[in-house]
Symmetry: C2
Subunit: 181 residues, 2 copies
């Protein structure tokens, strides 16, 4: 039930159409929650029927602009303050790391290297966003989390690549933790 809370939260920021919401999901929420238009439009109609959003404008090409109602804001606060988030991970990129032993040393290294490039590119993108961004009260927080996460991934991957190269089979030194602050 997080699609609705993503929509409710975005609309609480400013009124938008389904089309704009689809773009907002793809632009800013993509790495924490993704949704396509085929999921968004039916959900908007459900939220409208339940009185959690209301239509505030109608434009060209059948464009309908919605805003979060007070009931919708109450629902958001309920979700934020009283609901336990789902803690079940679902990340097939990370799942692969459990089965690296099925590959040769060079294949494993190659996989980790490709992964590193992917996270490195993301990091650059996030840093560009962080430089230009941030008007809602604590708007820079999520992007900084993205940066922290990508940096941690890259540090781990660099360590993992070294491990795979040296191919030790017994006890190994830990990844060097970064100093806080």
């Amino acid at each position: 039930m997080s699609l609705r809370h993503g929509l409710l939260g975005l609309l609480a920021g400013r009124p938008m159409s389904g089309y704009e919401l689809t773009a907002a999901f793809d632009r800013s929420l993509r790495y924490v929650w993704s949704a396509g238009h085929s999921q968004i439009y039916p959900e908007l109609n459900r939220l409208l029927n339940e009185g959690l959003i209301e239509q505030v404008d109608e434009g060209a090409r059948g464009r309908r602009t919605y805003a979060t109602t007070e009931a919708g804001i109450r629902e958001m606060r309920h979700w934020l303050l009283e609901m336990e988030p789902t803690r079940t991970g679902r990340n097939d990129a990370h799942l692969r790391f459990f089965f690296l032993w099925m590959l040769s040393r060079t294949e494993a290294e190659e996989l980790l290297q490709v992964e590193r490039e992917f996270h490195e590119a993301d990091l650059q993108e996030y840093m560009a966003i962080a430089a230009s961004d941030g008007d809602p009260p604590w708007g820079q927080l999520p992007i900084e989390l993205g940066i922290s996460y990508k940096e941690a991934m890259i540090r781990w991957l660099d360590w993992a690549i070294k491990e795979v190269r040296s191919n030790h089979r017994k006890k190994r030194p830990r990844v060097v933790p970064q100093k806080a602050g």
Copy 2:
């Protein structure tokens, strides 16, 4: 299609029954991929029909032990080397951070503090596992990733708590009084 690869990979490590696989998913793969027995048993039967696993033993209480076939190992290598992993995130705990502005400063701080405790507990658990673990060639790698990730989360949360405490908001949230109870 990652459930099947989790199963195939675990069975490539050693032959197991559906019951054992359910426990293995819950024990070691939980934070990257979770699956219950109601999903595992039908999938095992599908893998069996497709010749990716084979039954290698039959025990008490109808227990059936499976192992990955050569076709199954080929499928694993194909998944590891040639398939693009899904990059769409799905994490409602992180999604909440985008909407912290809808809370008061103390509410936001409390949410972040609870989150910190959760990750701190995970970190302790992971460190205990890391101390005792590691037989397959690069078996230490995934748990070290878990540790790196949890450490990054805690560092970010500490920073975010400070931010929320010190930075005054630019815009008042549209706070609606909550219903009692």
